[in-house]
Subunit: 325 residues, 2 copies
Amino acid sequence: MHILVIGGAGMVGRKLIERLARDGRLGGAPITRLTAHDVVPPKAPQAPFPIETRVSDLSVPGEATALVAERPDVIFHLAAIVSGEAEADFEKGYRINLDGTRDLFDAVRLMEGYAPRLVFTSSIAVFGAPFPDAIPDEYFHTPLTSYGAQKAIGELLLADYTRRGFFDGIGIRLPTICVRPGLPNKAASGFFSGIIREPLAGKEAVLPVSEDVMHWHASPRAAVGFLIHAATLDGGKVGPRRNLTMPGLAVTVGEQIEALRKVAGDKAVARIRREADPVIETIVSGWPRKFDAKRAIELGFKAEGSFEEIIRIHIEDELGGKIAD
Amino acid sequence: MHILVIGGAGMVGRKLIERLARDGRLGGAPITRLTAHDVVPPKAPQAPFPIETRVSDLSVPGEATALVAERPDVIFHLAAIVSGEAEADFEKGYRINLDGTRDLFDAVRLMEGYAPRLVFTSSIAVFGAPFPDAIPDEYFHTPLTSYGAQKAIGELLLADYTRRGFFDGIGIRLPTICVRPGLPNKAASGFFSGIIREPLAGKEAVLPVSEDVMHWHASPRAAVGFLIHAATLDGGKVGPRRNLTMPGLAVTVGEQIEALRKVAGDKAVARIRREADPVIETIVSGWPRKFDAKRAIELGFKAEGSFEEIIRIHIEDELGGKIAD
């Protein structure tokens, strides 16, 4: 089985490739080859199969065609300009997130007798406030960012191309990934991970919103699990509605902090410094808080059951099991 | 006020232009000029202002830019490849319905200091079965045709470009237009109009489905009313959710026939011949039947209150008030 990962240098792409390298198989079939693509060089971990890395801009004419020319059996399309950049640079966002996605879909469409499983990462940014308490699977898409609009369009294309038989697509809307490893960043959502990751590493973290802010989380490990499940799921069970809100955990910032206290004690919690930021408060208030991800759960997608579990996964996967004193 | 009608040769476009010619004004402002565009020559009725007709393919590079170069104050974008053709010719459907629409939106975006009201006709084809009894405004879009996917994408672009301030868009999802004037056609929905129009003209009509089939209707006159209202509506009242399901009338075929009996008698009803067509039954069973078009009604859009009214409008507007004996 040949697997193509587009967006292989991102955090989720990297973890997906590491997991595939560890497993050596996907859905019971041995992986014989993996191609990792991104605009910056993806890392190739030790694996029981060859990993080829490719660096290029997906939206350059001909690039998508070249990427699928060897007919990979499964394509993971994770590449995107992130929300903030797609908002700051309108044309770049549409070029990569819409045209790049459509180029890829068309490259697959135009190959005779080829209809691979194609897993597309969408986002809960397809939803725009105001929301009901828990957003149901049938709720409409009124994105409040260009990124969300581009992802919602990708979903529509994916469903139509799948209905036409050009490929066998599954779109998954990822929750906010928490705890996100790496350095603190400027993303408005950064604090959800920061208030856990930094204290566990013995560092101070800033909390810019009040403790009653609720949000929708899943661990990086769960996100990789969603991708693997989406790649191996029986498409017949999904039917024509190919885009799914992934399960997650709706917790308040206060509940996050209490989970941190249980796992790492008062000393860790004391490293969180409250510093209200009205700009971030406003941005976050427009975000979804909670979903009723019924269909995805019925189809076997699994997220964490508690925020303590999310913290323990971070400690296991990123900190070698050790918390700073 | 300069008005541009793209898709001016279609049935709704023609009736819109006739209405504007009669009114001489739009939203209280005198119309000084109208440009009617289509791929076939639009008709220019007598009007108190000059009407220019233009014939070209909107999706040809540069054409959209040329159309908006003179900065019309209001743009009606009604042009589309219809459902059946967009399904039969995948690339043509996407080229006209998606790329043509995006070209138009981008042409407006790229003009500095220009943000006209832009009215886009979407369709209830953005919805795909299964449905709740009455589809609410918040129901998601899972189209089962490429046409529906293209319209849903147009809606997302319209909302995002409006949010960005590139224009001031309103998207309206028209009900099935009934009674559609003209000759019987091969459209699967043709019989909804045929069973009224043909008997009123003294001709036989074929009914291919059972009398309990329910569908969502508005007259051509109501459709023109929706367009005019969308062009003059206060955008501030609409907010960021710019796409609206228009009101309509949910009636069964049996109720259509009883309305025909009340208006035109048993003799007209006797001209309907039942001839079941399982293919049409299947297509129609995937269509929306009924909506709860709450937002549009609150915003002042008005449809007919009874199917008899729809029939009487047809008799007035198309038959000069006279029914065949």
